[in-house]
Symmetry: C2
Subunit: 226 residues, 2 copies
């Protein structure tokens, strides 16, 4: 029987690549998408399409967060535009969703326990990123300790290990890795705005463009009609 993993799949470039890494590494993957009320719901469509194309079991759990507090949740908070990758890391931006990765990992751990999965995959990145605190290596180490102590799996000595295969890669390295694994970039969505086409100026678009440019590849995004 294959070892099992729960993969947090937002539908973006990073999480989709993380799913492909999990499959490459021999895991039987179950994808988990959390619909927390993000305005860019298009990414969820991408998650659905990719999970289905891979015949990967997929759960979408919806829990609108009534408290918002992020530009990704509240249409009244403008998404920052035109920031350089360097500027992104100087402060935590308004696109920060409070405690998002802690919620994501907690939900993934819960799902993983019911599947007897041994691994959680998350496509977090701490190099070309927006300076979110819950994308940093120290944070993942702390969450690992909490899951070891706070889950049945952890207490009974079965591994429930957080895998962060993209954590220390540049965006260009992620793009190259994705290409080598056959990630359908045209079916991934990164833009923080939920419009028909990527805005090309939000942090997510800027970082994605930087990655493709430095990898020497063309980004096919925009061709998805999902």
């Amino acid at each position: 029987m294959n070892k099992k993993a729960v993969v947090l799949l937002s539908g973006g470039l990073d999480s989709t690549t993380a799913l492909y890494v999990a499959l490459r590494d021999g895991f039987q993957a179950a994808a988990l998408t959390l619909d927390y009320g993000q305005l860019h719901q298009r990414e969820i469509n991408c998650a659905r399409v990719n999970a289905e194309a891979l015949a990967v079991r997929h759960e979408v759990v919806r829990f609108g967060m009534p408290w918002k507090g992020s530009a990704l949740l509240d249409p009244l908070i403008p998404v920052p535009a035109g920031r350089s990758p360097e500027a992104m890391q100087s402060t935590i931006p308004v696109t920060y969703v409070p405690a998002r990765n802690t919620i994501f990992l907690a939900m993934a751990a819960s799902y993983a326990e019911t599947l007897d999965a041994e691994a959680l995959f998350i496509g977090a990145n701490a190099l070309d990123y927006s300076g979110y605190p819950d994308c940093r290596p120290d944070y993942f180490n702390a969450m690992q300790a909490a899951l070891n102590l706070g889950t049945k799996a952890g207490v009974e000595g079965r591994a429930l290990t957080i895998h962060t295969p993209l954590l220390r890669l540049t965006k260009a390295e992620i793009v190259k890795l994705g290409q080598s694994l056959g990630v359908p970039f045209e079916r991934t969505w990164s833009c923080y705005r939920g419009s028909e086409e990527p805005c090309r100026v939000c942090d997510a678009c800027v970082l994605r463009a930087k990655g493709f440019e430095e990898a020497g590849l063309q980004d096919p995004t925009g061709s998805l009609s999902a």
Copy 2:
């Protein structure tokens, strides 16, 4: 301006007492109830009634967990009956909800950040309890470390402190504390079964009865028509 706290309020005896402790300690409390699909939905009614009676802001966030894996979620898994308090701690029972307190604390932290709250209250107890791993002191210390590293509040040096005022109390001590603070016991619901009356044989009922008996008090539960 009062210091603010988010209080995880399930609607049971412990969480309701934790809410009263937060208010006693001078916090402006916002209550958070998580409807994760628990079969004993009656406790949510209690949470609503008590928050309203106290004029405490209250959010109920619903996210049915499609994966179940617990007797509290899956009607096909029988709730254990007639276990002694000692037996409860020998193994993790089927009423364990995978990673529940990690999900709860993550959601509470998220809400707390948007309120600029400095405290999270959770009515967990590690003495008269069912042996759940996510009710133990070491686990809460690990989660505190994760929240310190993984939230904007933590990174910016504002406290986001987990308060576990009941952690090392016996159930009798919790009952006495609740009585001294005026907790309306008749409007709290502990039973794991969602019937009209408490079953009196599940772990939650057994522990509650033990608490009232050892405190020398009568449990008025059952008189709530909510």
